[in-house]
Every structure is written in C-alpha cells, then in structure tokens.
C-alpha cells in the first residue's frame, strides 16, 4: 500500500464513521476545531484505525501529540513502516 493509498483509506474510514465532509479532509484540518470531533470521537477514531489497518496503537504515546488530520496520516504511515521493518 502506497502512502497515498494509506491516506485515502484513512480519510474514507473517518468520513464514513464520523460523517465528515470529504472536502474538509485536508492535512491541516484540526480534529477538534475544523472537523468538529470531541475527545470521545478521538478514542473511537483509534479503534477505527486499529480495525482498518489491523494494528494496535491505543497505548502509543505518540497519539497524544496528534492535532491534525495530517498528524494522523503521518502517524499511521510511520506505524505501518515500523511494523513492516520489524516484521
């Protein structure tokens, strides 16, 4: 899966689960202010990402640094690379 495909998969999964507008799915979009998510949505978002990409991330401290959709893209891409390297 290329980085572009990962980004597309993330955006589609989040749009579907959280009823987000595809036009709002820009890397700069902040989760709380722009996308209108709340902290419980972020907890659910982690579960959605785990089930979409078949990995466990809920204990990862880097999650706390996520502010924007671009941060999620980077986090997931890095995580996939890390798993591929270790695997």
């Amino acid at each position: 899966m290329t980085d572009e495909q990962v980004i597309e998969t993330i955006d589609n999964a989040l749009c579907e689960e959280f009823e987000l507008e595809p036009s709002d799915m820009t890397p700069e979009a902040t989760l709380f202010d722009k996308l209108g998510l709340d902290s419980l949505d972020v907890v659910d978002m982690v579960i959605v990402l785990e089930s979409t990409f078949s990995f466990k991330i809920r204990e990862d401290p880097a999650l706390r640094e996520i502010r924007t959709l671009g941060d999620i893209h980077k986090f997931v891409i890095d995580k996939k690379r890390q798993i591929e390297t270790e695997g």
């Binding site: 689960e17 959280f18 009823e19 209108g36 709340d38 419980l40 949505d41 659910d44 579960i47 089930s51």
Partner: protein, 264 residues
C-alpha cells in the same frame, strides 16, 4: 384573492408583534418570580416529600417550564405523544434533537419531571439559574471530563432519575438533524440504561438560532420506543447504538415535518 392574502399577512404580522410584546415580558416576570419563590418552594417540597435535593430542584425546574408553556398557549400549540407510564418508571438516557433555546422549556410539557439535563457551559453562566441547575445536578459537559460526566450521570440513573442529552451538541441552524456526539450512548452502554429518543418539531419555528423574535408555532414532542444498549455489542457498539437512534429520529422527524406541512 390578493386582498385576503395581504389581510392574512397583516393579521400574522400583528400576531407576531403581539406575541413578542406579551411573551418576552412574561418570560422575564416568570423567571424573576421563579428565582425568588423557588427557595421557599424547595424547602417546602423537601419537607413534604423527603426526596433528595436534586429531585426536588428538578421538580421545580419542570414546574417553571410548565408554567411558561401554559402562559404562551395563545401562541403556541403543544402536543406530545408516546409517553407511557413504563417510560417514566424506567431510568433512561433521553436524547433530543435541538432546534431552539426553548427546547429545554418544552421539557416542562413532558409527563416526567425527574430529568437531569446534560448541557454545555453557557447556561451555567446565567447566574440566576446556576444555583438551581447545580442543585438539580445538571451536568456541565464542557467543564467536566467525559469520565466525570459519566460517573455523575450513572449516579443519577442509579437513583432512579433520567438524564437528558442534546447529542447534536448545539442547535441546528436549518432544522435538520446534525451529526451526533457519542457521550450519551457511551453512558447508556456503561449504565445499561435504555436510550429514549425524543423528537421535537416546531421549536425552530418558535425561535430559531440567530433570530430574536418569537413566531407562533405548533410544537410536538414524540417519544420513540426505548432502545436497549445490550443489542449493540463490540468495541464500537455505542456508535452503532448512536447511528441506529439517529436513523430512527431522522425518519420520525421527516414524518413529523411532513405532517406539520399538511396541517399548514
């Protein structure tokens, strides 16, 4: 035809002016009187019933809403449907669509008074309401963490009362049902309490967000059948519950809107 149409418009305009001349001063007077008399009434209620303070306060809030509802009767036709005695007896997480500041007042029209509202922080900033809201154990979902909100709400449900959420989080600008937040549905799962969807129509006509004058309206509140959280399992069961309830409410609100248009 043209004359009767313009006469109709004039009558309607006059009615709107009259409504605003009457309803605003009435609201201020009712609120002032309520703020003054609620404290002796609270003591009296406590002495007569022996209920918890929160329940006593919730009764008085409900009476305030009901008196307001009665006072605007010449301009607002109110009806309700679907409220069974069983629904009143079973502690539940009520979820309501949100069209107007006055949605909360119309909860005085329900046959159930023992409801703690989960609201944002701004209603708590109305200093004349705040002490009663705190006594009534209203939940400030913006100031409290989700964990604290859930803990307080579970305690309220365990005491046999209901908790009411506006899952859209804010009023709908165009009357359509917005995206839901999941807090109420997580609570339902955590407490094992059913979700009771309440569909409100007409309050957006009465006073929509951004408008400051009242318009006459037909307001209806319909309670749908309780939805039980046990039917929605898995890590995202609360979201499935939420989506199911939202679909039910969306369908019902469309029907209510169509019925209202037919009447008009």
């Amino acid at each position: 035809m043209g004359t009767s149409s313009s006469q109709g418009l004039l009558v309607r305009a006059a009615l709107i002016v009259l409504m605003n001349l009457v309803c605003y001063p009435l609201l201020v007077a009712l609120t002032f009187i309520s703020v003054v008399v609620c404290w002796p009434m609270l003591l009296l209620t406590k002495a007569l019933t022996g209920w918890r303070w929160g329940k006593c306060a919730r009764l008085l809030v409900w009476v305030y809403g009901r008196v307001w509802l009665w006072s605007v009767r010449p301009f607002v036709r109110f009806s309700r449907e679907g409220f069974t005695p069983e629904l009143a007896r079973t502690p539940s997480v009520m979820v309501v669509n949100h069209q107007s500041f006055f949605d909360t007042y119309f909860m005085g029209g329900l046959p159930i008074f023992d409801i703690a509202f989960a609201v944002r922080s701004w209603p708590f900033r109305m200093f004349w309401f705040r002490p009663v809201m705190e006594l009534a154990e209203y939940l400030d979902v913006e100031s409290l963490s989700h964990r604290e909100t859930e803990r307080h709400a579970c305690e309220i449900l365990e005491s046999g009362s209901h908790v009411l959420f506006y899952p859209e989080g804010h009023r709908s600008g165009d009357g359509s049902l917005g995206r839901f937040y999941s807090g109420a549905f997580r609570l339902s799962k955590a407490a094992g309490a059913p979700v009771v969807p309440l569909c409100v129509s007409g309050t957006g006509t009465l006073l929509s967000p951004g408008r400051w004058w009242f318009k006459p309206a037909r307001v209806k509140i319909k309670a749908l059948a309780p939805v039980y959280p046990g039917d929605f399992e898995g890590q995202l069961g609360h979201r499935e519950l939420m989506n199911h309830v939202r679909t039910l409410m969306s369908q019902e609100l469309s029907q209510m809107e169509n019925a209202a248009e037919e009447i008009l």
